[in-house]
């Protein structure tokens, strides 16, 4: 796939900004590449092909995790959305065991079913998405790592 097709594709997929795309075009122009008509392609209105299921758009509040590491993990924040929860965990690579597909679970005192929606981040940051909101009246959340029971955190709401 050539650069123009790839860049337009990334624009429509929401992976890059137009500013970034135009910076690449500017570079190619500076190198003397024939880019006739390319600016028009990049400037054309974008029909985003982003799959938008509405998850985690409306941020309700941010909750801090406990100020401590357990088994090399520390809950940084819990993002509460109108229809989702995102839990961000820091991982100390020197202490935390290496796990291929860590499974972080979320629970509360109302026995809410927090459905797993996705996982991302990287080796030093675990970001887990759940497609359920924290219900009104919940008093605490518990975040736990299946593979490492010591990495369990209770967070008052």
């Amino acid at each position: 796939m050539d650069w123009l097709t790839q860049t337009r594709d990334r624009l429509e997929g929401g992976a890059i900004s137009r500013e970034y795309a135009l910076a690449g075009l500017e570079a190619l122009e500076a190198a003397g590449v024939d880019t006739a008509g390319w600016r028009e392609v990049l400037d054309a209105p974008i029909e985003h092909r982003i799959v938008d299921n509405g998850l985690a758009r409306d941020l309700v509040t941010v909750v801090a995790g406990p100020p401590e590491y357990r088994a090399g993990h520390r809950v940084l924040v819990i993002l509460r959305f109108a229809n989702a929860v995102v839990c961000e965990v820091d991982r100390d690579e020197e202490i935390a065991p290496e796990i291929d597909d860590p499974v972080w679970r979320l629970a509360d005192d109302l026995a809410t079913d927090y459905r797993f929606a996705g996982f991302g981040g990287g080796p030093d940051r675990h970001t887990t998405w759940y497609s359920s909101a924290v219900p009104e009246g919940a008093r605490w959340l518990e975040v736990s790592l299946d593979e490492v029971p010591e990495a369990t955190f209770r967070i008052a709401l």
Binding site: A15, G24, Y69
Partner: protein, 170 residues
């Protein structure tokens, strides 16, 4: 041009002059990380450069260093009432042993190519982005949760942080 023949570029079909111009451009934009990154990607795609160019290697290593230089988390300051501007809300400042992270939530296109805004604090500490865009990111459709990283680590007495023109966390 050696032997009067056009030099074959990284992918075999570009002349020497274009390669020289590409390298000149990288030198010109080397202090603007977003433009540098976009140029490197474009030149790769066009076969103008390869990974052996020192400026490309340096940019790659800078990114690696930024991700690695962090240290353990010392404290987390939460945005109690997150403000959203241009789709982005800062959610927290994470003070680490060796760096300072700003966590954000973004709704809209642009992916992780979101240049790190300026960071300041109530002590007047001068922070510089460790990397031009997010050092970590996790997304779902148009929604992105990520972190920008800055150097140095925030001083222990820093209590209020300003991020870009719109956001503050204390």
């Amino acid at each position: 041009m050696a032997g009067g023949q056009p030099r074959r570029g990284a992918r075999g079909d570009v002349p020497d002059r274009a390669v020289s111009r590409a390298l000149d451009h990288l030198t010109r934009v080397r202090d603007d990380p977003m433009r540098l990154n976009a140029a490197i990607r474009a030149f790769y795609a066009a076969g103008l450069i390869d990974g052996d160019e020192p400026i490309v290697t340096a940019a790659f290593e800078e990114g690696q260093r930024a991700a690695a230089q962090r240290g353990r988390v010392e404290r987390v300051l939460i945005a109690s009432d997150p403000v959203r501007r241009d789709g982005t809300a800062v959610t927290a400042v994470v003070v680490r042993a060796d760096a300072t992270d700003v966590l954000f939530h973004h709704v809209g296109p642009g992916g992780s190519t979101r240049p790190a805004p300026a960071l300041g604090d109530d002590l007047g500490t001068r922070y510089a982005p460790a990397h031009w865009d997010a050092v970590s990111a996790s997304g779902f459709g148009p929604v992105l949760v990520g972190a920008w990283r800055y150097l140095p680590a925030a001083p222990p007495d820093a209590r209020e942080f300003t991020i870009g023109r719109w956001w503050s966390v204390s």
